[in-house]
């Protein structure tokens, strides 16, 4: 049976991990490769590297980082952040990324998802959706949450899959960083609306939150950053807990 996945997310700027971490046993907690390798050893099922570099020049740093990750780490990883064209995707996949996640550009450029799926296959195209609850509806936000797209999250998720996305990474912005738990209702609605796997993100604070979103929330995978970085939860312990709850994990 297919297991549920636990995915740590690492924010990377100019080739370095930016959110602080508590891993004093690492020689260099700022090195994404070293941190990623540690998560892989702890039992992470996948990794996401989110590039938050501001300039195009700095993005080249990301490609060389991707190659270093691919050389060292023996589990799959996704790269996201500012990807806007077929060329960006080609460069990252060529560098060794297993999947890429795209967000704003897929909304702004009609046809981009379809072209990416045709060129590289849906299996490596993840549509990231940042959603916020407004006036009784879950709405899509772009550019790191700054700009309202004016479309509903569920409708966009369906459309993105029709256009060629092979997976959905759903972040509920209202929950992000709050540690109040994942938004179960929208996660379940998106998961039931599309026939591809859905990764839930935003709000993870405890083991129970992961169990909830993987059962009630119908998520196929759960992503988190700070709870792992600050050592509040170890992936090993989390997976043992999920096993006790009869949730299938590796």
């Amino acid at each position: 049976m297919l297991s549920k996945r636990i995915i740590p997310c690492l924010d990377v700027k100019d080739g370095r991990t930016v959110k602080g971490t508590r891993f004093l046993d690492l020689k260099d907690a700022g090195d994404p490769v070293e941190l990623g390798a540690m998560y892989a050893r702890e039992g992470a099922d996948e990794l996401v590297f989110l590039d938050i570099s501001a300039t195009h020049e700095k993005r080249k740093t990301m490609c060389s980082l991707v190659t270093r990750v691919a050389e060292k780490i023996n589990i799959p990883f996704t790269v996201g952040g500012g990807i806007a064209s077929v060329e960006d995707v080609a460069a990252l996949l060529e560098a060794g990324a297993d999947k890429i996640s795209i967000n704003t550009a897929a909304v702004r450029t009609p046809g981009l998802l379809t072209e990416l799926a045709f060129r590289f296959g849906s299996q490596c195209i993840v549509q990231a959706i940042d959603a916020k609850y407004e006036d009784g509806k879950w709405m899509v936000f772009l550019e790191g949450g700054r700009v309202a797209a004016g479309i509903e999250a569920i409708a966009w998720a369906k459309q993105a899959v029709d256009l060629g996305a092979g997976e959905i990474l759903l972040t509920t912005m209202d929950r992000d960083g709050t540690k109040e738990g994942f938004a179960l209702d929208i996660t379940r609605q998106v998961s039931e609306a599309v026939n591809v796997s859905v990764i839930a993100s935003g709000g993870a604070g405890s083991q129970e939150h992961f169990a909830e979103v993987l059962t009630e929330g119908c998520a196929d995978a759960a992503l988190a950053a700070s709870v792992f970085h600050f050592g509040e939860l170890s992936i090993n312990e989390l997976k043992n807990y999920l096993k006790q709850q009869n949730i299938l994990v590796r």
Binding site: M1, L2, N74, I75, P76, D98, C124, E167, V196
Partner: protein
Amino acid sequence: MKTVIIKYGSGNTRSVDFALRRLGVSGSVSDDPEEIRAADKVIFPGVGEASSAMKYLLERKLDTLIKELKQPVLGICLGMQLLCECSEEGNTECLGIFKQKVKKFNGGMKVPQIGWNNISNLKGKLFKGLSENEFMYFVHGYFAEQSKATVALTEYGPRYSSALQNDNFYGVQFHPEKSGTAGEMVLKNFLEL
């Protein structure tokens, strides 16, 4: 020992190459018939679509070359599917080393299957030292049916062949190069055949 990874435009050749290097083996990535024939071990990887991959192989006459190989050959993911009789993906005639068909998942499961799933009913040297129900990483929308060549089973809707073997030909539907230490063990077992 010389290991060659066949280059054919449908590839995660780089990931496989990196995985070999982590095992201390330097493989080369090549589409040169002489180099492939001379190798001790041949790896036939693949991520992509069946009909365009077969077209590429036919254009470069790599189809006949692969069928004639006598050394151990390991097909990975699409590589394994291309070693089967035919695929529903693009209605493609494949290489026919394994006699089964490759079919599309249908029946309400999410497609493609993405993630870690168990392998069971393990047979043969490829799985030496691995335990039943070991988790491996899968990414695929089509699956190979069961046959006499089946050496591992996985369940996603139907129970299907997650590994195949016929003489010197081996195939795995999962990605050993991305399946942590368990996957590395499968690669190591193949290299030690």
